[in-house]
Symmetry: C2
Subunit: 482 residues, 2 copies
Amino acid sequence: MAKEKGFVTEITPQSEDFSRWYIDVIKKAELMDYSPVRGCIVFRPEGYELWENIQRDLDRRFKETGHRNAYFPLFIPESFFQKEKEHVEGFNPELPWVTEAAGEPLEERLAVRPTSETMFGHMYAKWIQSYRDLPVLINQWANVVRWEKRTLPFLRTSEFLWQEGHTAHETEQEAREETMRMLHVYRDFVQDFLAIPVIMGQKTPSEKFAGAVDTYSIEAMMKDGRAVQAGTSHYLGTNFAVAFDIKFLDRENQLQFTHTTSWGVSTRLIGALIMVHGDDRGLALPPKVAPTQAIMIPIGPPKTRDVVMPRVDELFAQLKQAGVRVRVDDRSDVSPGWKFNEYEMRGVPLRIEIGPRDCENGQAVLVSRISGEKRIVQQANLVEEVERMLEEIHNDMFERAKQFREDNFRSLDTLDEMKAFLEEKRGFVEAGWCGSAACEKTVKEETGATSRNIPFEPTSHKSTCLVCGEKAAHTVAFARAY
Amino acid sequence: MAKEKGFVTEITPQSEDFSRWYIDVIKKAELMDYSPVRGCIVFRPEGYELWENIQRDLDRRFKETGHRNAYFPLFIPESFFQKEKEHVEGFNPELPWVTEAAGEPLEERLAVRPTSETMFGHMYAKWIQSYRDLPVLINQWANVVRWEKRTLPFLRTSEFLWQEGHTAHETEQEAREETMRMLHVYRDFVQDFLAIPVIMGQKTPSEKFAGAVDTYSIEAMMKDGRAVQAGTSHYLGTNFAVAFDIKFLDRENQLQFTHTTSWGVSTRLIGALIMVHGDDRGLALPPKVAPTQAIMIPIGPPKTRDVVMPRVDELFAQLKQAGVRVRVDDRSDVSPGWKFNEYEMRGVPLRIEIGPRDCENGQAVLVSRISGEKRIVQQANLVEEVERMLEEIHNDMFERAKQFREDNFRSLDTLDEMKAFLEEKRGFVEAGWCGSAACEKTVKEETGATSRNIPFEPTSHKSTCLVCGEKAAHTVAFARAY
């Protein structure tokens, strides 16, 4: 990798060094930059716009399922963390503390929120009196901080952006339904919008959220075979209700604790979509999340500009009118070839080339970023052709990601098989598990892989534990994870 | 004011106690609640949705003027503040400090950002090399913290939400044009979207932003005659460029410092719109920002429900289809009268009543929240009638606010006149000022009023200073301010 003045000039091939490839791509495409604060990045406009697009679509899905947004304080009093035992044990090692303000020490230290179950719990206890106040369905878009030892842009940063939904319900059943509803919202969103196939399932006890009764996740496979947890949804039982005294008078006039849930996705989705779709030429952005869906590049010698540009402007206006996020690069100081490389590196899903010959024939050339397929289409049908090809590119990306996952996925029976597989290539392993934390730990120590989740739909149901050989309680998906 | 279990049951009249009225209204309408963290509030869904609507419209205006969003770190190293002398003096007294994280003391204390000129400056120095990299036009939506001594929900809270634009330019002229462009964006937005008339002008040196060369503001008058600074735009000169070494090679290949700007509005706009438009019945929300623009209430005895409801549902669908934010309250356990009061208190701009007689006649009744005007309209034209009346309500609200401001505004010549006016009633005073900080201070000490700004278009140009009687350098708008 050659570097000059901090700018990446060449992208390291994935096969040579995947981590280096990742950093090269996100820097060269100007998605982020390192900040002077340990583990915190700057989301540059090209990267932040991915998050804006994710937000817009997810927010719509949250509102369609009856949720409203709110905003709760950044700071959480230390005493709040003490109220839920598992929660404090889980988060204490990662908390940054505000100890002084305006020149004076604080009476009580304030944590910068790593998540907000405690603050929501405190407020819900004030707002909820009766079953008539339930359910409470609130989401928050916010920044959170977890002082991580090892960080990686987007995938694990000390400060990150996310949404956290917090809901309170009359009954366990309703709360469990909500937990699953939001898990499905995440699954649908990640597959339909980001073109990332995921494995939906339940976390094992050792991997569940600190304070949850049950945690569910969707897990995606990166191009290096490692897993990224792309979203989680938690049934919290009455744990936080008891800790924060969230009680209500039920329909029989009895005081009950509410059942609560929480669920979240974060800016790590940006890291996931880069690692799932990118290639040696750079980013490859699924059309629905891409800031620029189509780039129009006029072709041909300077003297033909007068013929080509008016047509380009006209077609640009039509596409924009139709809601396509399209841009024109009509610079004359760089060659079309240079532009082709540039927008491929930036992951723009579709290129539209228009030259003088195309104008004579009333044609345009569409080129897919992902497959390289070239398609000659009629200018008269350009909007429909572009819309169709963008949809095909989305499907193509999803299918390629799914095929890659299948190619790097094994359903195995023993730890030795798993070790052999993971030595040969990285990937996911599905295997039986007896349910003991000891066997789970053995897998981790011997292979570096952790249990990702207990898939709702395993490819096969295993009968014995891959470690101890005893009866399997579950079939588990294992992988090394980010 | 009667209270029960923390719920406000009656609203204190504005004339009795304006501050109490404000708190009663925002609590009863469930816009906010106090949090357990000093000076921080919870933005409840009804309040947060106002901010979402503000964001959506402002964000569009920012993008139309060529800006893109990004996200910069929450934490700012202590050393950054030391680099710009006025900046550190201005903000140091209000900073909260993170001193430990993950169980260990930090090597360098981190401030929780009160504003981000320093962090943007640091990053811009990395990104900007040549005039070809300019201008850089970035905005950020974020939370910021200023540890305020006296707080008031929305108007002055320790943590608040805002946007901060930070731009870098080749020349002073371009940066000054940007500064004014964004001031005008704010003026247009606040007047066109929030129906709040504002006075646009330049801050005096004592009131300008810590680190700015020139600060401009828009100032609004609340119903108690006090001012709220509704938006500010700063020309920062090369102050932050010098402090953070933001240099570029200009067109003559010479190294130059960039000229930078910053500009922001915050959630205090929510406080302003409540205090400008609200009345003794509660909130009054301008239609463009109102979460619910129209509330449909079926009228008449239960037996007529079968006639009325299908028609209500049909009209509701038409309005929703047309993009009106409309809701139906078809509860049968509360009376129409109770609903009228409820939605008036919540500030819904337009009420639509439909009863059996209306259905017979193909009519509906529209009632304005702000004037109480009742209008009988044809159901066949309901969409147009509703859209027209919402627009009229917006104009009505703007005109009322403007009239109120004119009624409580005086162009005066001496401090004695000003004192007499402010004893009689609260309001804004326009007067001549010699330009000395001493005279400005005298005004503040004697009247409690501060210079709000030097209006671009004063009602008259004053020739003498209201304090010392010397030649006036400027005509200034003074007011007590939130």
